[in-house]
């Protein structure tokens, strides 16, 4: 249960509280609300409104229930063709 995996977190940018000036602060705040130690790997601007991070399953589930979170999807591995 404590094992961390990479997740891609999709945020509803339109639901960003007015108290945030910048969406990246909102992303960080959302992440910090479920984990003291998780760090962002990437924040995405064009392809996704959101970020990728390492979370435990419990943290991922908790994050999914936060306001403004669309989905918390586990990372997938792709292969060359």
């Amino acid at each position: 249960a404590s094992e961390r995996k990479t997740y891609i977190v999709h945020m509803a940018k339109s639901k960003m509280p007015a108290s945030f000036d910048d969406h990246t602060y909102w992303y960080h705040s959302s992440l910090e609300s479920v984990s003291d130690s998780a760090e962002m790997l990437y924040t995405y601007n064009n392809v996704v409104h959101g970020f990728s991070t390492r979370l435990t399953a419990e943290e991922a589930q908790s994050l999914e229930n936060q306001p403004g979170i669309l989905s918390v999807l586990p990372e997938l591995k792709y292969e060359l063709h």
Binding site: K5, I8, Y42, V47, H81
Partner: protein
């Protein structure tokens, strides 16, 4: 690549293609294993300044400086945070923490799409000629997302995100990851954003053929590319002690067997393990193979590794026999010892000889490169096949392109087999896969983008699809090498790309963002799923009836859910809109169906266009009776003004 430019008609029709200046404004982004910048294919002689639209960078890293790029290779970035988060820090003694390609695959795909002209290219003399990418004047930007341990979706998304910022025009991804819903699939998500910005995304269909439902990258905003052969072969015959010869293929270069007949042994009889026939590492008994030619069965481990295993055990040569999984498809390899690959039928006959003769002998005769092979193209057995498992109503793959035995640029840090023990270094390598066909289409899309900068990604894809060939050079229908029978739209999509015809398709099936959003509504995606995929607050209109069959796709897939039912007929309607990209003309429809099991009707049957970009719609009705489930049937819809043929394949399935 050599030969494929001629095979696709690019050389003969060079004057039809856009001026070099406009092509040099097009930037192809390649997400792959990185790049080998020293490849001659990235020579920037004669190229002007980097396009002013370019916002990318040449990122520094292991053995890669900001000055490594030039006017050809204009960008190089790497994305490893997701990879390292899962598998730990990159071991820089094994792979470069930079865009440098330690694998070869990324250099191969990038040079295929947009490599400069290189004279005197070959692999050990095989496939010799002048190598060039499809769009020789296009610029290349490399985004390294694949590492020794794989390609991770967080890195792929980051690379696509950056490529969009950088202002690429075409994205080429020769990778895939199974079959997820579009809102869970990072490639589909990234491709949606790219499409919104007018970037054409070309992806490989996958190498899981010939099984049905084996496609990757099937989102309708992606151009999905399967693989076919070209008219070139590398014959290497097995000559048996009984006087019979069997044809195979090989890229071996080195000391030959001098036509000397050597003892011949089946690997399964030279091993103590049950799967000894596969020539896995450490499974051959040296005393039983030393000085002999060994017959190994294909499967499980890499083909070239089997050769290395035979060599390590003291074998003098290898015959690699296809099994049912590969049939008669012959993929050539640069083996480390004299070796050839034979089809399943030949393999079975050779095994019969080994088992029946008390002292079997053989030799291998290498014949070099042969061109003009017919029939060609044929669909590669490995090329993934439809139906589309995510949305059966969207026919995939879209097209096929050359993907078997393709020569292109290679990394200087790895041998042509990719094996650690292969110390040979080559500037060009010959490999196979839908990875190789995808960048052909990426490069062709770059040419079309240069010729028609106003065309959307959907219009470019439509031009490639509706002009694709379903017949070989000899006039016969394209075959599926897996069956030896004519291939179907589930194998070849709209057909084999014909870039010369695609320059002037007459009409196109265009699509914009709202068309795709309506498509997502038709899939009953929730608002949250749509927002995850498309980053918009788009809400499906509950009063509107959405239908997947209304997506203005250049092909038709119709799924009748009446398997095993009795009596009655079912009707499915599709609507399409054609946009005139040629001169004023009247197009008339012609309908073709392979069987009496279904009927096609089109209303109206004639469309008159008087202006450029004029749009006209038509409705198609597919009517079918009851058929057993898993039955497929095929047809096509063609619009022609006498000069152009705008062809759409039709695939009907009963489930």
């Amino acid at each position: 690549t050599t030969r494929t430019p001629e095979f696709l008609g690019l050389e003969k029709s060079a004057d039809l293609f856009p001026e070099s200046g406009s092509v040099s404004e097009v930037i192809i982004g390649v997400l792959d294993t990185g790049i080998w910048p020293e490849s001659k294919s990235f020579d920037d002689t004669g190229l002007g300044p980097v396009p002013s639209s370019w916002k990318g960078q040449c990122e520094e890293g292991t053995n890669f400086t900001s000055s490594t790029c030039n006017r050809k290779l204009i960008g190089a970035r790497y994305f490893s945070k997701g990879y390292e988060a899962t598998l730990g820090p990159i071991d820089e003694s094994k792979e470069s923490k930079s865009a440098r390609d330690d694998d070869g695959h990324g250099t191969h795909t990038a040079t295929t799409a947009g490599g400069s002209v290189v004279t005197g290219a070959s692999l050990f003399g095989y496939a010799s000629g002048t190598a060039r990418g499809m769009a020789t004047r296009a610029r290349i930007a490399a985004y390294k997302v694949c590492w020794v341990g794989g390609c991770f979706s967080s890195d792929i998304l980051a690379a696509m995100d950056k490529a969009i910022d950088d202002n690429v025009n075409v994205l080429s991804l020769s990778l895939g990851g199974g079959m997820s819903d579009y809102y869970r699939d990072s490639v589909a998500i990234g491709a949606f954003a790219a499409m919104e910005k007018g970037i054409l995304v070309s992806c490989s269909a996958g190498n899981a053929g010939p099984s049905q439902y084996s496609l990757s990258n099937v989102a309708p905003w992606i151009t999905t590319v399967g693989a076919g052969t070209l008219d070139r072969d590398f014959p290497a015959y097995v000559s048996l002690g009984n006087g019979l010869n069997y044809s195979g293929v090989s890229l071996y270069r080195g000391d030959s067997l001098s036509s000397k007949m050597l003892p011949f042994v089946f690997a399964g009889n030279a091993s103590n393990v049950t799967n000894g026939n596969l020539c896995m590492m450490g499974t051959l008994i040296p005393e039983k193979v030393s000085g002999k030619i060994v017959l190994c069965d294909r499967g499980v481990n890499a083909r070239v590794q089997k050769g290395a295993v035979v060599k390590a055990a003291g074998g003098a040569g290898m015959v690699l026999a296809n099994t049912a999984a590969n049939g008669e498809e012959l993929v050539a390899d640069a083996h480390l010892l004299p070796a050839t690959t034979v089809g399943q039928k030949s393999g079975d006959l050779i095994k019969s000889y080994i088992f029946s003769d008390p002292n079997p002998t053989a030799t291998i005769l290498f014949e070099g490169t042969k061109v003009g092979i017919e029939p060609s193209p044929v669909v590669a057995a490995f090329s993934s096949r439809g139906p589309n498992s995510i949305t059966p109503e969207i026919l995939k793959p879209d097209v096929i392109a050359p993907g078997v035995n393709i020569i292109a640029g290679w990394s200087g840090s790895v041998g042509p087999t990719g094996l650690a023990i292969d110390t040979r270094r080559v500037g060009f390598n010959i490999i196979s896969g839908t990875s190789m066909s995808c960048p052909h289409v990426s490069g062709l899309a770059a040419l079309l983008k240069a010729a028609h900068p106003e065309w959307s990604p959907a219009a470019i894809r439509s031009a490639l699809m509706t002009t694709a060939n379903t017949a070989c050079k000899n006039g016969q229908m394209i075959e599926d090498i897996a069956t030896g029978k004519p291939s179907t739209p589930f194998d070849h999509g709209s057909g084999h790309v014909d870039p010369v015809s695609a320059l002037n398709p007459g009409l196109v099936y265009d699509l914009n963002i709202s068309d795709y959003l309506n498509f997502l509504c038709a899939l009953n995606y929730t608002a949250s799923q749509i927002s995850s995929l498309a980053r918009s607050n788009f809400t499906c209109d509950s009063s509107k009836k959405y239908s997947v069959t209304d997506l203005n796709y250049p092909s038709f897939a119709v799924s009748f859910q009446m398997g095993g039912g009795t009596g009655g007929t079912t009707v499915v309607k599709h609507t399409r809109t054609l946009t005139n990209v040629g001169s004023a003309a009247t197009y008339k429809v012609s309908l073709h169906s392979q069987s009496e099991s279904f009927k096609i009707s089109v209303e109206p049957d004639s469309l008159t266009f008087t202006e450029l970009n004029e749009k006209k719609s038509y409705a198609v009705t597919f009517t079918a009776g009851s058929m057993p489930s898993n039955t497929n049937s095929f047809g096509r819809i063609e619009w022609s003004d006498g000069k152009h043929i705008v062809r759409s394949p039709v695939a009907i399935s009963w489930t």
